[in-house]
Amino acid sequence: MNLAEVPEGRKVKVLKVAGARDIKQRMLDMGVMPAAEIKVERYAPLCDPIHIKLKGYSLALRVSEGRNVEVEYC
């Protein structure tokens, strides 16, 4: 399962981050990395980007980027 498939309000754990080098680095820098716990807060009015919460702060990332993040429910 990837991050873009998680419904609003659910919590997940990151398994793996893939994707192009720069996008991947940016995600890692923002704390989206293996073992991180993420809550999907909501989707934007047009269902993209995704508003997530991790380590106490909020991030917005696009669905296309969320697809690079493999997750599981926790």
Binding site: V17, R21, D22, I23, K24, Q25, R26, M27, L28, D29, M30, G31, V32, M33, P34, E41, R42, Y43, A44, P45, L46, C47, D48, P49, H51, K55, G56, Y57, S58, L59, A60, L61, R62, S64, E65
Partner: protein
């Protein structure tokens, strides 16, 4: 002089700290070669002056963004005496992740822990003494927005400089510790590769695939050996930890950051609903979010125009009241009459009055508007709302190759259907971190219907579409968005082909901005605009004036006519008009206008519109004045106004007017906007591109409208 650099995450209160340290006494510059902004100021410690530099706020020090490159190159190459790392205590872990990267650079550092009050509200208490013990650095508690802790911070900086206190090196994971020494040894052999950078840092960055450093490896002798060693190290990491090197390094850093934050911070009642979460539930809501956004943007315009133009709240020292814009205009009107009284040489008077005073005055009369626009944008930015606007709008704008934050620039430029100005619009693109996004938005913004195009529209609509004024205005509003979005889409297809930039953006916690911070921000940007008006815009205005004034006409004919018409006021006005027209027709601009007719007649323009459009390059409202002069021929001036005059011309019709309207909407941005474009993109290349691209696009559309229209209507 000692150099102090301030580094930290965006939204950590870096700029607040900078303002508190320097007292807002700052100077804005650009880092050489890039458009990343560079703010510098001074602070005194023990009576000695120290230079303070506010580095761009970043989350990391990779080579993927200009800001991060600039920050790390500055720290290494300019070797500041001390780096103050601002830490947002309410986001300890992510802030310490950045700290770990600064520590790798092995420089004297001080930790300034900010926002402890906010952290306490979130149930987080931080043990600063323990933090200092574990990192080996001086740690100071600050409240940047209220200027608290500045003396302590200065003292800590001084001590760190004098004792040359370096942070304790970080021991990363076992796997990395096994690999790093070997790589370190290899790279430290090459002065070319390391330069001033510490070998350990270079080794880590190479493992991370840092493009900037890898390029250097390719160039140096023995580079292949290093590349081979890197390859085997990466394999080793993959075998041991089942992670690729990039992830392993990031994990190691976050391991340090979370370990440290567990050691120094105590968290209670985590998971409590925060005020920010509650606000976000409304502001980012699927249905309410867009409505709230429209409301806030509407208020932005209401306040900006109200305070700058509509409300008369400044005394005119004559018992009356004026708006700031009227005040500016009054000042330049006074200046103009002063010039008329004191200068008797006709060409000099014309240059000073029509070239300089009315040109610069026209630009300066936008200053109040620009100031208030910046003021309210700074408020929105500082509260954290702009990030939410980007969140809501991103999907829609991405269709056209733009991104969420672009919407602000488009709205400020006049995207709400009139009013607005492309100058603050273009300057508002600064919130876009990616250069390509910024350039696309900068090129698209001037298509919007700014306040200066409005009088020209109003005149043409009054002349030819008086029965459907509202509908025409609406159509022009739709067209302006179509132009802007289409131009961005085209550029994404042709110029920035297939390049998508990541959109991973923090949605910062809402907070109340300080009046001082907002004021300093708005004032700084307004000053920059005024400085440009006084220099480049002035020069451009004088050139355009000269084009429209020289080589002039033989005035003896008109003087004779004037003598004959002595006393006949109507005749005198007519003669003045005729002379002005003859001068315009014979001017360089007039000749250029005539020379262009073979091309421009495809869109229905004759030489008179051509001159007006050339004049409009200085400022769009000039189009109106110049057309007034050009069509005043043979009329007796006073009775007939320009709309009636145009409507009575046999060769004018709705189609010609519409093609002209569309062209005025789209063609080259005015001088002031071009200057802003140069400033924001940092390159003349993009400035010229913007002028040429928009003119060609507008011309093609106008020609299509005119030619297709003729087929249908004739």
């Amino acid at each position: 002089m000692r150099k102090i650099a301030i580094a930290g995450n965006p939204n950590s209160g870096k700029t607040c700290l900078f303002n508190s340290l320097t007292g807002g006494n700052q100077r804005v510059g650009n880092y050489p070669g890039v458009t990343v902004e560079f703010v510098e100021g001074f602070t005194s410690i023990n009576g000695k002056k120290n230079r303070v530099v506010d580095l761009p706020g970043t989350y990391s020090l990779t080579a993927y963004s200009q800001e991060e490159l600039v920050a790390r190159e500055y720290i290494i190459n300019k070797s500041p005496d001390v780096v103050v790392n601002v830490i947002d205590a309410s986001n300890l872990e992510r802030n310490l992740y950045f700290t770990s990267q600064l520590v790798e650079l092995n420089i004297p550092m001080v930790l300034a822990v900010n926002m402890l009050e906010i952290a306490e509200k979130k149930g987080i208490t931080v043990d600063l003494k323990r933090l200092s013990e574990l990192t080996g650095m001086k740690v100071v508690r600050i409240t940047a927005n209220r200027g608290m802790g500045m003396e302590e911070l200065k003292k800590a900086c001084l001590e760190t400089i004098e004792k040359h206190i370096l942070p304790k090196p970080i021991a990363y994971s076992h796997e990395l510790q096994n690999i790093l020494p070997r790589l370190e040894e290899m790279v430290s052999g090459s002065a070319e590769l390391c330069g001033r950078f510490p070998a350990r840092w270079v080794a880590l960055k190479l493992l991370e695939d840092d493009s900037h450093l890898l390029e250097k490896v390719w160039r140096i002798e023995g580079g292949e050996k290093i590349l081979k060693a890197l390859e085997s190290s990466r394999h080793e990491l993959l075998d041991h930890s089942n992670e690729d090197a990039v992830t392993a390094v990031a994990e190691a850093r976050y391991g340090f950051a979370s370990g440290l934050s567990r050691e120094v911070a105590v968290m209670t009642d985590v998971g409590k609903q925060q005020v920010s979460d509650i606000i976000d539930r409304i502001v980012c809501n699927r249905v309410l979010g867009p409505l709230v956004m429209c409301g806030i943007v509407y208020l932005l315009f209401l306040f900006t125009f109200g305070l700058a133009e509509e409300l008369k709240w400044l005394p005119d020292f004559n018992g009356g009241w004026l708006s700031p814009t009227e005040m500016c205009e009054l000042f330049f009107a006074k200046l103009s009459s002063l010039a008329k009284m004191t200068i008797s040489v006709p060409w000099l008077l014309s240059m000073v009055d029509e070239g300089i005073i009315s040109g610069v005055g026209g630009v300066m009369s936008f200053v109040p508007l620009i100031f208030f626009m910046f003021f309210f944008i700074a408020v929105l930015e500082d509260t954290g709302y702009i990030a939410r606007v980007a969140f809501i709008m991103d999907r829609l704008l991405r269709v056209f190759g733009l991104q969420g934050k672009s919407v602000l620039a488009l709205i400020v430029s006049g995207g709400l259907g009139g009013g607005g100005c492309a100058v603050p619009g273009v300057m508002a693109t600064r919130t876009l971190r990616d250069e390509k996004d910024r350039i696309l938005t900068v090129i698209a913004a001037p298509f919007m219907n700014c306040g200066a195009k409005m009088p020209v529209y109003a005149m043409l609509i009054a002349a030819f579409f008086s029965s459907s004024q509202g509908a025409m205005m609406f159509l022009l509003w739709l067209l302006s968005w179509a132009f802007a979005l289409f131009s961005a889409w085209m550029m994404r297809k042709i110029v920035f082909k297939g390049e998508q930039t990541p959109f991973v953006m923090e949605l910062p916690v809402y907070h109340v901005p300080t009046l001082k911070g907002v004021f300093l921000d708005a004032w700084g940007r307004t000053c920059m605009y005024m400085k440009k008006a006084a220099t480049i815009i002035l020069a451009m205005n004088v050139i355009l004036w000269a084009l429209m004034y020289y080589p002039g006409v033989d005035s003896t004919r008109f003087d004779a006519a004037r003598a004959a018409a002595e006393g006949n006021q109507e005749m005198l006005v007519k003669i003045d008009n005729d002379e002005a027209l003859a001068r315009l027709e014979n001017s360089f601009a007039g000749r250029i206008g005539r020379a262009m007719t073979p091309v421009t007649h495809l869109a229905g323009f004759d030489w008179r519109e051509n001159i007006a459009l050339i004049g409009g390059m200085a400022a769009k409202e000039v189009v109106l004045g110049t057309m007034g002069t050009a069509y005043a021929m043979g009329s007796d001036g006073a009775e007939e106004n320009l709309p009636q005059l145009l409507a009575s011309q046999p060769d004018w019709n709705k189609l010609r007017a519409f093609a002209l309207l569309v062209f005025i909407m789209g063609y080259a941005p005015c001088a002031a906007t071009l200057v802003a474009i140069k400033k924001e993109t940092g390159k003349w290349r993009w400035t010229i591109f913007s002028a040429v691209y928009s003119t060609v696009l507008a011309f093609v559309v106008s020609v299509v409208i005119y030619q297709v229209g003729q087929v249908f209507f004739h």
